[in-house]
Symmetry: C2
Subunit: 77 residues, 2 copies
């Protein structure tokens, strides 16, 4: 019975604040698993390495993912 | 002159292997910065916590990001 399983999500509160891609040190995406039933997205900020949990379903996170993957060097082969 | 700057990218080689969302422990996205001129995506696998660098421009990674963000519990408010 899965009810007795210990839930160990990393995020307790989820921030709705906008995160600027430039302010971001890194972004961690943790898929749903046996230890936590939901996807967790943890943003580590450059400034004081503060960690913030973000809402995976928010439009802001989708834009952030897009911005981060675009923000690359434009070296062509 | 930025030429003398030390480049400290995390990834040396980049894997083109397909990563199944279910096999993924977490995914780290590190935006381009002064220490590394390119976006880095590091997948940590559940099995033996192996780390793999993935190509941010590959279609596989885009699908993976999509899959991971969709793979959530369907709790409605």
């Amino acid at each position: 019975v899965p009810l007795s399983r210990t839930v160990r999500c990393t995020c307790i509160t989820i921030s709705n604040k906008f995160v600027h891609p430039k302010a971001l040190e890194k972004l961690e995406i943790i898929p749903a698993s046996q230890s936590c039933p939901r996807v967790e997205i943890i943003a580590t900020m450059k400034k004081n390495a503060e960690k913030r949990c973000l809402d995976p379903e928010s439009k802001a996170i989708k834009n952030l993912l897009k911005a981060v993957s675009k923000e690359r060097s434009k070296k062509s082969p």
